[in-house]
C-alpha cells in the first residue's frame, strides 16, 4: 500500500488517474481503516485528502448557505454554533456516527462515500437538500446528496472523481430539521432505521418539507409521500398518522442481523412522527 498526502485536489486526482490498482481516499479514516484491518479492502494507493488547504473549513456562503470541507470532523461540526443553529438535524445526524473518539475523526463526506444505506449523517443531508461538489479528470460537477449513493457500498462517483465539498442551502426563517435513528443500545450501533425531517412553516402551517429514511432500502430514500402528508397541515394527529403510514409504506427493508423487516417498517413510521414533531418545534422556536 502506498500512502499519498497531496496538497491540492488536482494533485490527488492526478495520483488517482495514474493508479492502476485499488485506490481509496482517506478523510477521517474511520471506515477505511476498519476495512483495511479486516482485510476487506487493502488499497494499493491510499490518498489522504486532509492536508489539502480548505478541507477543514466551514464557510458561510453569500446566500446564507454553508460550505463544509471534506475533512471537517463530527466534533468540529458540532462545535460550530451558527451551523448548529441553522441545521441542527444535519449536525445531530453526524454526531450520532460512532463514539466520541470516532467523532474526532469521522466526516460527513466519508460517511456519504462509504455508501451505507444506514449512514446516520446522510438522511439529514438529503432532507436538507444538500449538494456535493465533485471534481474529476473531466472537470467539476454538482450532485444532490441523494444521488450520490447508488447501492450499498457504491457511489455515483466515476473513477478519479473526488467530492471536494458539501453545500447546505440557506436555512431561511421559520424552518427546522431533525434526525432520529433507532438502535438497540443507546450508542455505538448502526442505525436500524433512520429518519430526517426538514420543514418550513408559515405560521403554524407546514409549507415545505423534505423527509428521508435511512436503513430501509438499498440507499437513503427521499420520500415525497411523507412530505405530502404534512405539507399544508399544522402537523395535527391526522397529518402525523398519514406521515407515519407513508414512511412505513415507503420502507422496503431487508431482514438482517441488525433488525427484521417488519420491525423496520413499523419503526420507520414511529421515527417519522417523532422527528417531524421535533423539526416542527424547532421551526416554531
Amino acid at each position: 500500500m502506498r500512502y499519498h498526502a497531496p496538497a491540492t485536489f488536482d494533485e490527488a486526482i492526478a495520483i488517482a488517474a495514474g493508479a492502476s490498482g485499488v485506490t481509496r481516499y482517506l478523510a477521517g479514516g474511520t471506515d477505511v481503516l476498519v476495512q483495511l484491518r479486516a482485510g476487506m479492502v487493502t488499497p494499493d494507493d491510499l490518498i489522504d485528502l486532509k492536508k489539502i488547504p480548505g478541507t477543514h473549513d466551514i464557510t458561510r456562503l453569500p446566500d446564507g448557505g454553508w460550505r463544509i470541507g471534506i475533512a471537517v470532523s463530527g466534533a468540529e461540526l458540532g462545535a460550530h454554533a451558527e451551523l448548529v443553529a441553522d441545521w441542527p438535524g444535519v449536525v445531530e445526524g453526524m454526531e450520532l456516527v460512532g463514539s466520541t473518539q470516532v467523532q474526532g475523526r469521522a466526516t460527513l463526506t466519508g460517511n456519504l462515500c462509504n455508501g451505507s444505506p444506514a449512514a446516520d449523517s446522510v438522511p439529514g443531508l438529503v432532507a436538507a437538500g444538500a449538494t456535493v461538489t465533485i471534481q474529476g479528470p473531466n472537470g467539476t460537477r454538482e450532485l444532490p446528496v441523494e444521488q450520490v449513493p447508488v447501492k450499498p457500498g457504491k457511489t455515483a462517483l466515476e473513477p478519479g472523481e473526488i467530492i471536494t465539498a458539501i453545500t447546505l442551502p440557506a436555512r431561511g426563517k421559520s424552518a427546522g430539521d431533525a434526525y432520529l435513528r433507532f438502535i438497540p443500545r443507546t450508542e455505538m450501533d448502526i442505525a436500524v432505521v433512520g429518519c430526517a425531517v426538514s420543514l418550513v412553516l408559515d405560521g403554524d402551517k407546514v409549507t415545505a418539507a423534505r423527509i428521508s429514511l435511512g436503513a430501509v432500502a438499498p440507499t437513503v430514500l427521499l420520500v415525497q409521500d411523507c412530505a405530502d402528508a404534512i405539507i399544508g397541515t399544522t402537523l395535527d394527529d391526522a397529518a402525523l398518522d398519514k406521515l407515519a403510514a407513508a414512511a412505513s409504506a415507503a420502507a422496503k427493508p431487508i431482514s438482517d442481523k441488525r433488525g427484521p423487516k417488519e420491525f423496520r417498517v413499523d419503526v420507520a413510521g414511529v421515527l417519522a412522527r417523532r422527528a417531524a414533531k421535533i423539526a416542527y418545534e424547532r421551526a416554531k422556536a
Binding site: 498526502a5 482517506l26 479514516g29 484491518r37 470532523s73 463514539s99 466520541t100 473518539q101 450508542e187
Partner: protein, 159 residues
C-alpha cells in the same frame, strides 16, 4: 514495502519512527515507541481502549494511520501524570475502585480527561454518553462514573 519516516510530538517529547503505511497509530505507539499503555481491544473503533489525544482531539488510535501522525501532537496515558503527581482522575479511579482488570482504564482516563477539559461539570448522563465509546466489561460503569464525578468536583475546587 517501503516505510515512511514520521516525526511527531508525544507527551511533549519529539519522536520519530518508521511506519509501514498499513500500521495504525496504535501499532506505532506500542511497537515503535514502546508506549503500551494504549490497548487494542477491538481494532475497529468500538471499545476505546486505544484512546489518545491527537492534536487536541480525542481519537481511537486504532483508527488513525501512523503515517497520518506526521507533525502531530499526541498525548497518551503515559503522559497523564505529572511525574509522580497523579492526575485527579487517576487518583479517583484508584480511590473509587473504578477498575477491576484495568485493561480499559487507560482509555477511560484519557477520554474522561478530554471530557473534563471541555465540560468541568458534566451531568451523570453527559459522562455516560461521552464515555459510551469506552467499553468496560468488569465494573458495570457505576464506579467509573462516580470517579469521574468526584474528580470533576475536586478539579472545580468543590470537593
Amino acid at each position: 514495502m517501503s516505510k515512511i519516516h514520521v516525526q511527531a510530538t508525544v507527551n511533549g517529547d519529539s519522536v520519530e519512527f518508521l511506519a509501514d503505511p498499513r500500521e495504525t497509530l496504535l501499532d506505532c505507539l506500542r511497537d515503535h515507541l514502546d508506549l503500551t499503555g494504549a490497548k487494542e481491544g477491538c481494532g475497529t473503533g468500538d471499545c476505546g481502549a486505544c484512546s489518545v489525544m491527537l492534536n487536541g482531539r480525542l481519537v481511537s488510535s486504532c483508527l488513525v494511520l501512523g503515517v497520518e501522525a506526521e507533525g502531530a501532537e499526541i498525548s497518551t496515558i503515559e503522559g497523564m501524570a505529572d511525574g509522580n503527581e497523579l492526575h485527579p482522575l487517576q487518583r479517583k479511579f484508584i480511590e473509587h475502585a473504578a477498575l477491576q482488570c484495568g485493561f480499559c482504564t487507560p482509555g477511560f482516563l484519557v477520554a474522561a480527561k478530554a471530557l473534563l477539559e471541555k465540560n468541568p461539570d458534566p451531568s451523570e448522563s453527559e459522562i455516560r454518553f461521552w464515555l459510551a465509546g469506552n467499553l468496560c466489561r468488569c465494573t458495570g460503569y457505576d464506579k467509573i462514573v462516580r470517579a469521574v464525578q468526584d474528580a470533576a468536583a475536586e478539579m472545580r475546587g468543590a470537593a
